[in-house]
């Protein structure tokens, strides 16, 4: 078992006052709260922080922890010295209550583990019924799947209690129907595919958070889809009709004359086919032919002569 340096986790020195510990904890709790933080290890950090604070906020537990000595380094192999907690009086008997099932083995070896499992036993399980927990996972789908709907096999890792009540990591594969019109950030609910219930309680639900794979030419925001439409200068200025791909098939798009670079043309209802369908935007992007041979250079010279054009007129020069 690894030694945990609770002072390092909370980011205070060993002689910090209770007030300093509280302030440091609150600041880090906001930073690493899994609902707020975008850092990938936020959940883990937040758990560790809670555990550290559980010990340091309580002067009795803190004194007992301090007694282990200063020479331990985080991560070092650790076994509590025999009868290490002799001479300490812990109020509240079972030492700790809050969320103790999430705490580390290190914590457990020092301060014990409250409640649930110790009070267990066969008869307990026979009489206790509860709905299983809802579980969450992410699913990466293509934009095509959102336009047309699809069936995708996904594998989900989950923990299950074995017959001795120990958690086991298991993997299972589900064949999921992706509903047409689903958007990024939405959740697909799969009824009764979450954690198993206890006793006769029914299983919880599984929620899949939808993300899209990046696409080489479509960008998605909400239910709207954006597509860059490159145009030759004469196409943009004289107007034309161009062929464009959309996730629902090719279309003909009419480009009005005198279209400026960056202009957005909206194709109503051609975005993601949600209940109220999104729109497709073609963002015009004027592409300039290179002047790398005599013929093209001449064409630019002719343009220069024919047009009295100052692109910096707005700058006053």
């Amino acid at each position: 078992m690894e030694f945990k340096d609770y002072y390092e986790i909370v980011g205070v020195s060993r002689d910090a006052s209770q007030d300093e510990i509280k302030r440091a904890y609150r600041k880090l709790a906001r930073k690493y709260h899994p609902d707020v933080s975008k850092e990938s290890d936020a959940e883990q950090r937040f758990k560790e922080l809670g555990e550290a604070y559980e010990v340091l906020k309580d002067p009795e537990k803190r004194a007992a922890y301090d007694q282990l000595g200063k020479n331990w380094k985080a991560g070092q192999d650790f076994h509590p010295p025999p009868e290490w907690d002799q001479g300490f009086e812990f109020h509240g008997g079972g030492f700790t209550g809050a969320d103790a099932e999430n705490f580390s083995d290190f914590f457990e070896s020092l301060f014990g583990r409250a409640g649930f499992r110790q009070g267990g036993g066969e008869s307990f399980h026979q009489q206790f019924h509860a709905r299983g927990q809802d579980t969450h996972a992410k699913i990466l789908i293509s934009l095509d799947d959102a336009y047309h709907g699809a069936t995708r096999a996904i594998s989900i890792k989950h923990t299950e209690l074995d017959q001795h009540g120990r958690p086991q990591l298991k993997e299972r594969t589900l064949n999921v129907q992706i509903p047409k019109g689903v958007r990024q950030g939405q959740h697909i609910r799969l009824g009764k595919q979450g954690a198993k219930g206890i006793g006769t309680g029914e299983a919880g639900d599984l929620y899949l958070e939808v993300e899209f794979q990046a696409h080489p030419f479509y960008q998605v925001e909400g239910k709207d889809v954006y597509l860059k439409c490159p145009l030759a200068p004469w196409e943009a200025m004289l107007g034309t009709t161009v062929k464009l791909p959309t996730p629902a098939g090719k279309i003909d798009l009419k480009i009005p004359a005198n279209s400026a670079n960056g202009k957005k043309l909206r194709l109503k209802g051609r975005g993601i086919p949600a209940r109220e369908p999104g729109d497709l935007y073609a963002v015009l992007e004027i592409a300039l032919p290179q002047a790398n041979d005599e013929k093209s250079k001449q064409a630019y010279r002719d343009m220069e002569k024919a047009l009295n054009f100052n692109p910096r007129a707005a700058l006053g020069v």
């Binding site: 609150r26 709790a29 906001r30 709260h33 609902d35 707020v36 937040f46 809670g50 709905r131 809802d134 069936t151 096999a153 594969t173 589900l174 064949n175 999921v176 129907q177 992706i178 509903p179 019109g181 689903v182 990024q184 950030g185 939405q186 959740h187 697909i188 609910r189 799969l190 009824g191 595919q193 639900d205 929620y207 899949l208 990046a214 960008q219 998605v220 925001e221 909400g222 954006y226 860059k228 949600a274 209940r275 963002v283």
Partner: protein, 107 residues
Amino acid sequence: MAKQVLKIIHGEILEEEIMLSLAQLCRRSSMSAESILEMMEYGVVEPYQASQDKWLFKGDSVSRLRCAQRLKRDLGVNTAGAALALDLLQEIDGMRRRLRRLEQQLK
């Protein structure tokens, strides 16, 4: 090795296709009606269609309620603070998505 044929599981989109009554919301969020009513007072969740005696909540109300509950428990904010944090988090999420789209477009 025999290939297992898996049944196709049909899902519903939480944010669009699911509407919940107050009783269903209580069950799914494991919260009492009283605490949901308090969350409603502060706009954490809003009934979608309030006819005379029936409230309907959007499916994502469950995750909003749970998130508000966690923020209250873990950070010591009150219900008004949790509601504010939820709205700001949603706004940030929208801005992140817009930023990502614009960045991709510039490539």
